[in-house]
């Protein structure tokens, strides 16, 4: 039974590891995109300008209410159409671009991550001590300095548990890209199942790999939280 998972031609170990590599790459590529969207949406929903607030609130509400797989299909099918429509208008002689499944995965998962992250970050910003911002202003710090030196370091501490949960959710959601033909862990497992006719064995293996990644993430996050909270006296 173990030769099934071995490396090389006989086994599926190397194919599944390749799939795992894609899954990890996708998750790591999505994280900065999602965080950027999250910060933008959080700032928009805390902005003093009403239209911006409306936009930020609308974005987070809609994105959090839609199934992730629907978002993925909308991005994968829709963004391709949109890009090529713009391209035809811009440069009619250019050949149509293929919107790669990897890019679609990063954009779609990033949009979902961003919507949830915006709520986490907004909560974190609002739990900051207002007096500290006022103190910063009183000693003549500029708005940017207040943000970089006072708010951001503490937001990190408040937002970390929430963002950690989102990371784990996103890691699991990467499995969806197998549906749009990206060769991630889930899809390589499917290929292996197609040849070996052992669906339970291989899907169980895939589940165990995802599980291991989630448990590992939880351990790392616990460590990061401990580090972020160093120097904070517990009440």
């Amino acid at each position: 039974m173990f030769e099934l998972f071995s490396y090389g031609d006989a086994g599926w170990g190397d194919e599944i590891l390749q799939g795992l590599a894609i899954t990890v790459q996708l998750a790591i590529a999505t994280l900065p995109v999602g965080l950027c969207i999250g910060f933008l949406a959080a700032f928009a929903s805390m902005s003093r300008a009403r239209p911006l607030r409306f936009l930020g609130f609308g974005y987070t509400t809609i994105m959090r209410g839609l199934p992730e797989i629907l978002t993925l299909f909308v991005v994968y099918n829709g963004a391709g159409l949109l890009i090529n429509a713009v391209l035809r208008w811009w440069a009619p002689e250019a050949s149509p671009i293929d919107f790669s499944p990897f890019a679609a995965g990063v954009v779609a998962l990033g949009m979902v991550f961003g919507a949830f992250a915006a709520e986490v970050l907004r909560g974190a910003f609002q739990s900051l001590d207002r007096g500290q911002v006022e103190a910063g202003r009183a000693i003549g710090m500029t708005g940017r300095k207040i943000f970089l030196r006072i708010q951001l370091p503490q937001v990190w501490r408040f937002a970390l548990p929430g963002l950690g949960n989102l990371w784990i959710n996103m890691l699991k959601d990467t499995a969806l890209v197998s549906v749009i033909a990206l060769d991630d862990l889930m899809r390589m497992t499917k290929v292996a199942v197609g040849v070996t006719k052992q669906p339970f064995t291989f899907y169980l293996l895939a589940c165990l790999i995802y599980w291991a990644m989630c448990v590992l993430s939880e351990l790392v996050l616990a460590q990061m939280e401990r580090r972020a909270n160093r120097g904070i006296r517990r009440a």
């Binding site: 509400t61 809609i62 959090r64 209410g65 839609l66 199934p67 992730e68 797989i69 629907l70 299909f73 909308v74 099918n77 829709g78 159409l81 949830f116 709520e119 909560g123 949960n165 784990i168 699991k172 959601d173 990467t174 499995a175 969806l176 197998s178 549906v179 889930m186 499917k190 199942v193 006719k197 052992q198 669906p199 339970f200 064995t201 899907y203 169980l204 895939a206 589940c207 995802y210 599980w211 989630c214 448990v215």
Partner: protein, 244 residues
């Protein structure tokens, strides 16, 4: 075709899909709701060793993608076909709807168990002592004191879980269940008209919005004896702020 024409022509399919989505979600959530109180009590009261299998189950369900769980049940059952046929269970596992429902119910049970555990732990000790003092049996204490309060604490989080389940139910389309997502993909592959996805998005948002309203209504009913001035902490948090 214009977006309106798409809707006019294909609304029976979308409606059919919507009903399927609601059916999957409600059945899955109800099955999980029937099992999770027992599991939650085990998680609160049983000895650590007795809890171990349950903890592993919950961790597994929360640590793996629902899509992988669905494939494990739907495709994975094929590996045991002779055995399942012998037991007369094969006709159950051959149907993608049953497999999707089983996967969602198993998944939701894990989440609901953890949420309810939090609720049970949140019931003040004094209430249980008071119940004991007036001579209620253990079963009656659970039924009349512990669970009513635990559900009131857990209510917003449970609502979130049902919404998450509704969103997850779109995955059933991958194993050929014609829920709203499945119908939408079917229409798209026929027309290549992108607007059908937007209609689907709108329907999903409507389902969520209506559900949130109903859930709040139920929450108000659950805590009607408390009065508005002294709302419990759980109701003070808006529903959208928390996520399992």
């Amino acid at each position: 075709m214009s977006p309106v024409e798409i809707l006019v022509q294909y609304w029976p399919r979308l409606l059919d899909g919507t009903l399927m989505t609601i059916k999957l979600t409600l059945l899955g959530a109800l099955i999980a709701a029937a099992v999770s109180p027992v599991f939650a009590l085990v998680r609160v009261h049983a000895a650590p060793m007795a809890q171990a299998p349950l903890r592993i189950y919950v961790s597994f369900m929360r640590g793996t993608p629902i899509l992988a769980q669905l494939f494990l049940i739907f495709y994975g059952s094929g590996q045991f076909r002779p055995l399942l046929q012998e037991w007369g269970l094969w006709s159950f596992f051959r149907d993608p709807f049953n497999c999707a429902l089983l996967a969602f119910a198993l998944n939701s049970t894990a989440y609901q168990t953890e949420i309810l555990r939090g609720g049970v732990l949140g019931v003040p000790r004094g209430e249980i002592e008071a119940a004991k003092a007036i001579g209620l049996s253990r079963l009656k204490t659970l039924r009349r004191v512990v669970f009513p309060h635990a559900y009131r604490i857990a209510w917003p989080a449970l609502g979130n879980e049902v919404i998450l389940l509704m969103k997850a139910s779109a995955l059933a389309s991958v194993v050929t269940v014609f829920d709203l997502m499945g119908r939408t993909r079917q229409v798209f592959s026929k027309t290549f008209d992108f607007s059908v996805y937007l209609w689907a998005a709108l329907i999903y948002l409507c389902i969520t919005a209506i559900f949130v309203l109903l859930w709040r209504q139920a929450e108000r009913r659950l805590s009607r004896h408390i009065g508005t001035r002294n709302t419990p902490q759980a109701t003070a948090q808006p529903l959208k702020e928390t996520r399992a």
